[in-house]
């Protein structure tokens, strides 16, 4: 179910409206942005390679950009390339109207760096390093990191198996009012 690079059919538009949290204008805007990513030689391709997606201004400086591409990509080669529908999925999950559940589901998958379905110590360490940045003075020392991870697991690991699974993650998230607000991509730029 690919789309042509030029026009988006009316029934496809309505279908996407029904299946995602995006409005008609947002879908058309997304289509425009996606078409711009496909350069002239790649007109026959149905998916955009990851490097092109990462050049989008909204994702360029985001520390989680590679994980985002991997999570939303449905390609068999697991190379992080996005079809137009994957792109819509991405925008829908990050839109303002998406439910807490969708956002927490995808956030969990983004934070799960090793893709094993739970957040263990290694995932949490990579997560904190992404949050605090690449420079030396903003990184936590190994001692602080160890303490932080043990505190997080103590607070959120209910079944005490040493990892945070989706339900526990959603339990922590539901207590925070800032989560839904923060996990939105502001895609209004023309």
């Amino acid at each position: 179910m690919g789309t042509t690079a030029s026009q988006l059919g009316k029934d496809l538009l309505s279908e996407y409206q029904e299946l995602t949290f995006l409005t008609k204008q947002e879908i058309l805007l997304a289509h425009k942005r996606y078409s711009e990513l496909l350069s002239k030689e790649d007109r026959n391709l149905t998916s955009v390679p990851m490097e092109k997606v990462l050049s989008l201004p909204e994702l360029k400086s985001n520390p989680f950009r590679k994980r985002i591409c991997h999570v939303f990509s449905t390609s068999d080669m697991k190379d992080g390339s996005l079809t137009f529908e994957d792109f819509l999925d991405l925008l829908s999950a990050f839109s303002d109207s998406a439910t807490l559940e969708i956002k927490s589901h995808y956030a969990f998958r983004i934070f799960d760096f090793d893709d094993d379905g739970t957040l263990d110590g290694g995932d949490l360490e990579k997560l904190v390093n992404c949050l605090t940045g690449k420079t030396e003075d903003t990184r936590l020392t190994p001692e602080e990191m160890r303490q932080l991870i043990s505190n997080i697991l103590e607070e959120s690991d209910i079944d005490k198996d040493g990892t945070v699974n989706l339900s526990e993650f959603q339990h922590v998230i539901s207590r925070s009012p800032d989560f839904v607000r923060a996990k939105s991509l502001f895609c209004r730029t023309a």
Binding site: E15, L19, T99, L166, A182, L185
Partner: protein, 604 residues
């Protein structure tokens, strides 16, 4: 793949949503049957076995079947909320639809019109946002009060202005500051309101502001015979309007307090601050490279501070330190209460001294010509104005200049934190004044409205310019609950008690106002009930109800007793739920260790 990794597999998602659509169908059709409720006593391992990949195809058909039977809006909502890709969702949609009437897009437009509020909440978090929402709530209360008193009191009195004994003072700009002068003989204050029934074409016969010392009550009621024209009993209107306004405000306050308490109350102790911070602090709206860097630095600093705090909490406080803390608190309370009592005593003795010093003739004039209610109204107006001026000064000095000082002189890298508690207390103080003053100055809510509007925009600019976001992730619902509780309990309760006492026991002044011939303000209601009784014997039950319910303290005791019983019952229920939560947590731990033991013994 561990048994508990439910989130990933497609079959798990499909069966999860199959269960949900089933529940939704049942809820829409009829009451759900008992067997659909999950057994909470024992977490079933059986439940986990169901959610594996082999469920996929038959689960999908059942899900499609359920989706077909839901209403259109439910179906759309369910589909959107499923964490599957668009390709998978459109496959499901294709399966359940033959012809679908495509609905117009549902717009989830934001409920708050102010874009500025979104900006504030985006940068500062929901703690600061709750302050601005509180300002909006107060605005709503004041608009309500203003409409009620304006329409029911000010407008009828303005349409029938009483004839004045002394000349009207000219308007000079100073009135806005002092509240006196031109304003003192206007509809703003209590003293302007007439104590008779207003009606068209009957102004000659109705008694106005001339000094009529005879407390003839019947004379007041006899003036209704004006040929059947519509008449408006001003004293009664005044009494009932104020009473009704307070009663409705009380109900709205209690209702919003209970609602926000219900939303924010967490039975388990929420100590998950670090986890919340790590999982929720990344703002995906931040795009620019410099903002990203700034944000990362911020997060690092905040994480370090929180870590330090949690490690400090684990250190046991010695008994000495605890006693020291208690002593400091006691000292602070003592100083506050002591200085308040000292001020009250000083004022009392000073006014006694002033009374003695004045000439007796002057003393009599002062007593009789002053309308003490208008005087109190003017004082409250001035208090409110002073509060506003001090808030402006505080914003200017406390936030703007302090930020400049701390950045230039102290060379601190971060802006000062917005002090939510101090600002909220200032708001509550202003609102208490407004509530106290409504009886004496019916249009005081208008002043408060103007003040709140100006404050809202001023604080918004100040916050964006001068402050940074607070460290701890405050929960907005908890903060709103605290604000509303503070508003209800000392503020509104105190104002209501003062106003009730004034209406019940204090003698109104003889020379002005709508109650000038009565012994208490409350008497106007009593007289009206008696009058109804004499004119219409059928309403004798009203007088009976009045004497047995309103005036009898036993009824109040009974009502208070019932409320206390209900509160006790609810606290016991909450205690029980807390115990169940800790039991369930223990069970989860046991089941997990049992599972890992089974896996260890049967490696397959």
């Amino acid at each position: 793949l561990p048994l508990l990794s439910l989130g990933r597999s497609r079959g798990a998602i499909i069966s999860q949503y199959y269960n949900r659509t089933m529940k939704l169908r049942r809820r829409r059709q009829s009451r759900p049957s008992i067997k659909d409720f999950s057994r909470s006593a024992r977490p079933s391992i059986r439940g986990y076995g169901m959610e594996t990949d082999c469920m996929e195809t038959e689960g999908r058909d059942q899900l499609v079947n359920n989706l077909q039977n839901l209403s259109l809006s439910d179906r759309v909502r369910m589909l959107r909320a499923m964490p599957l890709s668009v390709a998978e969702k459109s496959e499901l949609r294709y399966l359940y639809s033959s012809t679908i009437l495509l609905s117009t897009s549902l717009s989830f437009s934001s409920l708050y019109p102010a874009v500025a509020l979104k900006r504030v909440s985006g940068r500062f978090g929901t703690g600061v946002l709750s302050y601005f929402l509180f300002v909006k709530t107060l605005l709503f209360f004041n608009i309500f009060l203003f409409l009620v008193t304006g329409l029911l009191l000010a407008v009828p009195q303005a349409v029938h202005p009483p004839t004045l004994t002394q000349g009207h003072e000219a308007f000079s700009g100073l009135e806005l500051l002092t509240g006196g002068g031109y304003f003192s003989d206007s509809v703003i204050y209590y003293g302007y309101y007439s104590n008779s029934t207003l009606s068209k074409d009957c102004r000659v016969t109705s008694s106005s502001m001339e000094q009529q010392p005879s407390p003839s009550v019947s004379r007041r009621t006899m003036e209704t015979d004006c040929g059947g024209k519509p008449s408006y009993n001003m004293p009664l209107a005044y009494f009932f309007t104020i009473g009704l306004a307070f009663f409705i405000t009380c109900i709205i306050l209690v209702y919003s307090m209970s609602k926000s308490f219900g939303q924010s109350f967490r039975i388990d102790k929420s100590h998950g601050i670090l986890a919340m911070k790590v999982f929720c602090s990344w703002d995906f709206k931040v795009i620019k490279k410099t903002s990203v860097k700034l944000r990362s630095e911020n997060i690092c600093i905040q994480l370090r501070e929180l870590l330090e705090e949690t490690s400090r909490k684990h250190v046991q406080k010695t008994a000495c330190q605890r006693i020291g803390r208690v002593l400091v608190h006691v000292l602070a309370w003592f100083i506050c209460i002591g200085s308040t009592v000292a001020c009250v005593l000083a004022l009392y003795y000073f006014s006694e001294y002033m009374h003695k010093v004045r000439d007796t003739r002057f003393h009599l004039l002062w007593c009789c010509c002053q309308c003490w209610e208008s005087f109190v109204g003017q004082e409250l107006y001035r208090f409110l104005l002073m509060d506003f001026i001090f808030t402006i000064l505080d914003t200017f000095f406390g936030e703007f200049l302090w930020r400049l000082f701390s950045q230039r002189v102290l060379k601190r890298k971060r802006k000062p934190v917005f002090d939510i508690s101090r600002n909220v207390l200032e708001l509550i103080y202003g609102q208490t004044l407004a509530w106290l003053g409504v009886l004496f100055t019916p249009l005081l809510p208008a002043v408060q409205i103007i003040k709140l509007l100006l404050l809202f925009y001023m604080k918004q600019t100040s916050v964006m310019m001068n402050c940074q976001s607070p460290r701890k992730p405050y929960r907005a619902s908890q903060m709103s609950t605290i604000f509303i509780t503070l508003l209800c309990c000392p503020s509104f309760l105190g104002a209501a008690v003062c106003v009730s006492y004034t209406m019940w026991s204090i003698r109104p002044s003889e020379s002005c106002g709508p109650f000038r011939s009565l012994s208490t303000m409350f008497q106007s209601g009593k007289l009206w009930v008696k009058e109804l009784e004499t004119h219409n014997p059928n309403l004798a039950w009203l007088a009976w109800a009045h004497s047995y319910i309103v005036e009898n303290p036993l009824f109040l005791f009974l009502a208070a007793g019932i409320f206390l019983i209900v509160i006790y019952f609810n606290t016991q229920v909450v205690d029980g739920q807390r115990k169940i939560i800790s039991l369930l947590q223990e069970q989860i731990e046991n089941v997990t260790s049992l599972n890992s033991l089974i896996q260890y013994l049967n490696p397959s």
